[in-house]
């Protein structure tokens, strides 16, 4: 069954007539021509399709496009401003935090969303209850665990995210583990 809707992707509106079955991921990749978000598993098990929905990291493979009218979707392609790279993207290049690059746009979006969550004071599974987490190796690794990387770049992803994190006074967030 088809329906009409407008998707707002990376600041641009796209008017579509779309199958109700179409996921946001397939709408991006197969209808709109934005292939930044990747399909790795199509079932929410790898994170390669991660996008930001109204600033929050979500999985576009488990999101039906028809539910997304009015949402602000950002892909890794639309993260940078004025044609430049987002600091997280630059840090990924500097730290060689990827190899094949297929999980990378999802990792980048996830890192951007995760840093915002951290800035909002959200805890993770490894945060000592009742404390405010330092953004150390274990915190980043746990918070980024929804993004699988088969090339095994985790040991570079963690320092890349750490380097891109906004510095806080009196912390050593940028330091190596």
């Amino acid at each position: 069954m088809e329906t009409e809707l407008t998707l707002r992707i990376d600041g641009q509106d796209h008017h579509l007539t779309i199958d109700t079955r179409t996921t946001l991921l397939d709408a991006l990749r197969e209808r709109i021509g934005n292939t930044s978000a990747k399909k790795g598993c199509d079932h929410g098990q790898c994170g390669a399709c991660t996008v930001l929905t109204d600033g929050r990291r979500t999985l576009s493979c488990l999101t039906l496009a028809v539910t997304q009218g009015g949402a602000e979707i950002t892909t890794a392609e639309g993260l940078g401003q004025d044609g430049g790279l987002h600091p997280v993207q630059q840090a990924f290049i500097d730290h060689d935090a990827f190899q094949c690059g297929y999980c990378t746009p999802g990792q980048v979006c996830s890192a951007v969303g995760m840093l915002a969550e951290y800035a909002d004071g959200w805890p993770s599974a490894v945060t000592e209850p009742g404390t405010t987490a330092e953004l150390d190796h274990d915190e980043i690794a746990e918070r980024m665990s929804g993004n699988l990387c088969r090339c095994g770049a985790y040991a570079n992803i963690v320092p890349a995210v750490q380097a891109a994190a906004p510095r806080r006074e009196g912390t050593n967030a940028g330091g190596a583990r």
Binding site: M1, T3, D19, T20, R21, T23, D42, H43, G44, G47, T50, T53, R56, R57, T58, L59, C61, L62, T63, L64, V66, T67, S110, G113, M114, E117, D120, G121, W122, P123, S124, A125, T127, P129, G130, A141, E142, R143, M144, S145, G146, N147, L148
Partner: protein, 352 residues
């Protein structure tokens, strides 16, 4: 995937009416489980009724609503990540915040709702594969986890891959487990579930929401078609609490065994204790036998272990592929003992 219609009604009453009237209609929440299942062909509804913007996305203090001071009322549309991060939840219901954070990934927690998480379905690999028999998916077809009915098995018969399967409360028809961490955290809190059905609203104790499989494994819960979870009530809690999840990966994996526990020690004895297990049964498993045995007893590791071993007297492993799942029995005993030991140590300030 079969085509379906999509509806976003204006209020919950309309939503409930739409689903109740159409046997092939289902609710759409965060979508993390339903969209997965649509793709796999596990469900093929004609109509999706989107309720994400209809039920409450608020967490409110319960003192006005008869819950008592310190209680919380959680709307069904509250996302898992918001519930886990809420300062009141972190402060008053540590076990629930930890359970939520142990589940899935940051992205999935941003999507999954409180109501939807309670209704997520088993991760049994045979349930998830429409080319293998499954009584839960197709009643009467057989349970592939236990044995494949009527299939010529020249070299192999017997059970399937049961690593994620139940050791408690299973039946000959189904040995699946409920995969939610959040539900285990709520079970130990004596949470109550608010449900709106075609005939009005009712409240169900969370421990009575999910069923054991018995001879009707196709029914995960006591809800009837058209029933919509609108929220969860958390009564005030006394004591210390914790959630521990044991799994095959350090993160982003379902539980082999998980333990939610609340321990209240006074005057050197256990004043109250509540324990729930995940990954071991078709529902979050309240260890009531262990709880009874521990109330009034000294909070010692030996007592904790004796109590959980009593609880596990009826536990049975399935001797399946890759070693089966009998290891979960000692694992559950060890994990419960460790969680209660650590809670008791933090209670008394003893270094462990």
């Amino acid at each position: 995937m079969k085509p379906f219609a999509y509806q976003a009604p204006g209020d919950v009453v309309d939503a409930v009416r739409s689903v109740a009237e159409d046997p092939a209609a289902v609710y759409l929440g965060g979508g993390t489980n339903l969209v997965d299942h649509l793709k796999l062909g596990i469900v093929s509804p004609d109509l999706l009724v989107d309720v994400t913007s209809l039920t409450s996305a608020e967490i409110t203090d319960g003192d006005g609503g008869g819950l008592g001071v310190g209680g919380l009322s959680v709307g069904a549309a509250v996302r898992n990540s918001d519930l886990a991060a809420d300062p009141r939840v972190r402060e008053r219901f540590r076990v629930l915040s930890q359970a939520l954070l142990a589940g899935a990934s940051g992205q999935l927690r941003n999507m999954a709702t409180t109501g939807g998480n309670l209704l997520q379905r088993t991760r049994c690999v045979y349930f998830q594969n429409v080319s293998t028999p499954c009584n839960k998916r197709e009643p009467g077809s057989g349970c592939s986890a236990l044995a494949v009915p009527g299939r010529p098995a020249p070299t192999h018969d017997g059970a399937g891959w049961t690593r994620n399967h139940a050791i408690l409360g299973a039946s000959e028809h189904c040995v699946a487990t409920h995969p939610s961490d959040m539900a285990v955290g709520m079970a130990v809190l004596d949470a109550r579930v608010r449900v709106l059905g075609p005939d009005g609203e009712r409240v169900i104790p969370l421990t009575e929401l999910h069923r054991l499989p018995g001879d009707a494994p196709e029914r995960d819960t006591v809800l009837e078609h058209g029933d919509l979870i609108t929220g969860v009530e958390l009564p005030p809690m006394r004591g210390r609490s914790a959630y521990r999840k044991v799994r095959d990966r350090a993160s982003y994996a379902f539980a082999l065994v998980s333990v939610a526990a609340v321990l209240d020690v006074a005057d050197g004895v256990v004043r109250d204790v509540r324990v729930a297990l995940g990954g071991v049964a078709h529902k979050p498993w309240r260890a009531t036998r262990a709880e009874e045995q521990l109330r009034g007893a000294a909070p010692t590791p030996a007592n904790f272990r004796a109590a959980i071993e009593a609880e596990l007297t009826d536990a049975r492993g399935v001797d399946g592929l890759d070693g089966g799942n009998a290891f979960k029995i000692p694992l559950a005993a060890a994990t419960v003992t460790a969680v209660l030991r650590d809670l008791a140590a933090s209670e008394t300030g003893d270094p462990r």
